[in-house]
């Protein structure tokens, strides 16, 4: 920013502040925050947004702006840390960089950094961060190999940090998420040895001991997670209400009325709505779509591609285009190439129940 621009910006900033003192509206807060963005004062942006969020909690624009400013701050810090590491690497810098990368969801980069740190120093903390990064990747992709590797890293970290509860806590988290309750109980008992009398651990121990009788082994549990694409505690989360018949059917009817479209299908759990084919043929279509989604989601995880977002089959039968959502899937069978409108309609239909789907990092 040049000297003249800075003078103008200071004048504008004063104006925005006086406007805000006259009326504390969301718009005035946003305009003040944006002026700070232009001046590159990210900490000020965050402060203004936090003040505004106290008055207008949950405002989406303010939340987006504060999140974006935090992200920019993290990016600046990451750049600075990379520069310092190139000049003179030391464990504290590696640690901060790994933490920053994990906080911004850049899991692969974080693991890369932790690997470099571990190679250079062989520290237990570096191994723990490797485990944490791999664990995050496993929880996002639900890939068995990732889970197994995360557990291997945790075991190595436990050996390097024998009296530290942090590796045990991470191991416990993995076991709990995959539903390996017997192993979770074993880890909790070790945690209680390190931190005796902790009421939180004791309560967890009591809760887990009721489930550990018929708990699967770790490998079995990991295999199940990869197959279903669900973690053990996913069932406990309240599902969004199923969309009503009235909201799905018109969209399916619109799709099937498009030229070249022979069938449109919506599948959610055991329920299916089919437009186009009738009776047993409709049932067969729904079953085929469900099976294709199930097999493809598993294949995508095993192939290391993460969560499947679109499946398309082409052959002498035409094209079957499927949009798999978190809870529901939508598909069309057509005799010409699908275009962007079809894709968008399917994504909307599949996302009706799941809300905004988050993309795996």
């Amino acid at each position: 920013m040049s000297f003249v621009q800075k003078i103008f910006s200071t004048v504008r900033l004063r104006e925005r502040r006086s406007m805000l003192s006259d009326s504390a509206t969301v718009q005035n807060y946003l305009s003040l925050a944006r002026e700070h963005v232009q001046r590159g004062e990210m900490s000020e942006v965050e402060r203004v947004c936090e003040e505004a969020l106290e008055l207008y909690p949950g405002n989406p624009e303010l939340m987006r702006l504060v999140e974006r400013s935090r992200e920019l701050e993290r990016e600046d810090r990451t750049r600075e840390l990379y520069r310092q590491l190139r000049e003179a690497p030391r464990p504290a810098l590696y640690r901060e960089l790994t933490e920053t990368l994990l906080a911004s969801g850049r899991v692969a980069r974080a693991e890369e950094c932790a690997n470099e740190w571990y190679t250079q120093t062989g520290e237990g903390l570096a191994q723990l961060f490797r485990a944490e990064a791999r664990c995050k990747r496993f929880l996002a992709d639900k890939r068995r190999d990732d889970g197994r590797l995360a557990l291997e890293f945790v075991a190595a970290a436990e050996k390097l940090l024998p009296n530290d509860p942090a590796p045990l806590k991470l191991e416990l988290e993995i076991y709990e998420r995959i539903g390996a309750w017997a192993d979770a109980q074993r880890v909790l008992s070790r945690l209680l040895e390190l931190e005796p009398g902790d009421p939180h651990h004791e309560a967890r121990y009591r809760a887990i001991s009721t489930r550990s009788d018929r708990a699967p082994a770790v490998d079995q549990a990991l295999r199940q997670v990869e197959k279903d694409g669900k973690l053990a505690d996913d069932d406990a989360r309240p599902e969004s209400p199923a969309p009503s018949n009235g909201s799905v059917r018109p969209r399916l009817q619109w799709l099937v009325a498009e030229p070249g479209v022979s069938a449109s299908v919506y599948v959610r759990g055991a329920t299916a709505l089919v437009q186009g084919p009738k009776g047993a043929t409709a049932e067969r279509h729904a079953r085929a779509v469900r099976e294709v989604v199930q097999k493809s989601a598993g294949a995508a995880r095993r192939l290391g591609l993460g969560q499947a977002t679109e499946i398309s089959l082409e052959g002498d039968f035409g094209t079957l285009l499927i949009s798999p959502g978190e809870l529901a899937s939508a598909a069309i069978w057509m005799h010409k190439a699908p275009d962007e409108r079809h894709r968008r309609a399917l994504t909307e239909l599949a996302g009706l129940s799941a809300g905004n789907e988050e993309e795996a990092s």
């Binding site: 294709v292 192939l303 977002t309 398309s312 089959l313 052959g315 039968f317 079957l320 993309e359």
Partner: protein, 170 residues
């Protein structure tokens, strides 16, 4: 077969191109413009080929009750990349692309690769058929067991070489 896959590997965004033969042997070419995975891990080609072809068979089984034939082209878009699979008689061509790459841009190059592969196989088949004809074999430097077992040919040769000299002496 590497030269069949080589043009695919030059397309930006293609991470890996694998041709899986009917006997399950994969031939793989890595993308020249592909980014190295950030975590340093590289795909295990054998398991990738097995998983991809296994998944293709599962898809064929899933759509079989609809009286549909095996899908010829399958695209699987996912969070970390896209898999494009083209099934041809006797082989499966698999390409794995980066997240931003469009699978439609691979349609023509993959079909061209398949056409090239079939042309090579056809050429090999024709050469194989012509090489099975015994008359087209070049003659060996030394008499072989096979030529010894052909009495008519030896007999004719001996006679033709002896008779002119005999007649000359007479």
């Amino acid at each position: 077969m590497i030269e069949v896959l080589d043009p695919l590997s030059k397309i930006p965004g293609v991470r890996l191109a694998v041709l899986v033969a009917p006997d399950g042997v994969p031939v793989c070419v890595r993308g020249k413009h592909a980014e190295e995975p950030q975590d340093g891990t590289r795909e295990d080609i054998d398991s990738l080929a097995a998983l991809a072809t296994g998944w293709h068979c599962e898809l064929a089984r899933a759509v079989a009750p609809l009286s549909w034939n095996m899908p010829q082209r399958v695209v699987l878009r996912a969070a970390r990349g896209t898999l494009v699979m083209l099934a041809v008689p006797g082989a499966v061509l698999v390409a794995i692309c980066d997240r931003g790459a469009s699978p439609d841009e691979l349609r023509l190059p993959m079909e061209a690769a398949v056409a090239r592969m079939q042309r090579i196989l056809r050429g090999m088949g024709e050469r194989g058929a012509s090489s099975s004809d015994p008359q087209s074999l070049p003659g060996g430097a030394l008499p072989s067991r096979a030529s010894d077992q052909d009495p008519g040919l030896i007999h004719v040769d001996n006679r033709s070489s002896d008779s002119p000299s005999g007649s000359g002496q007479d």
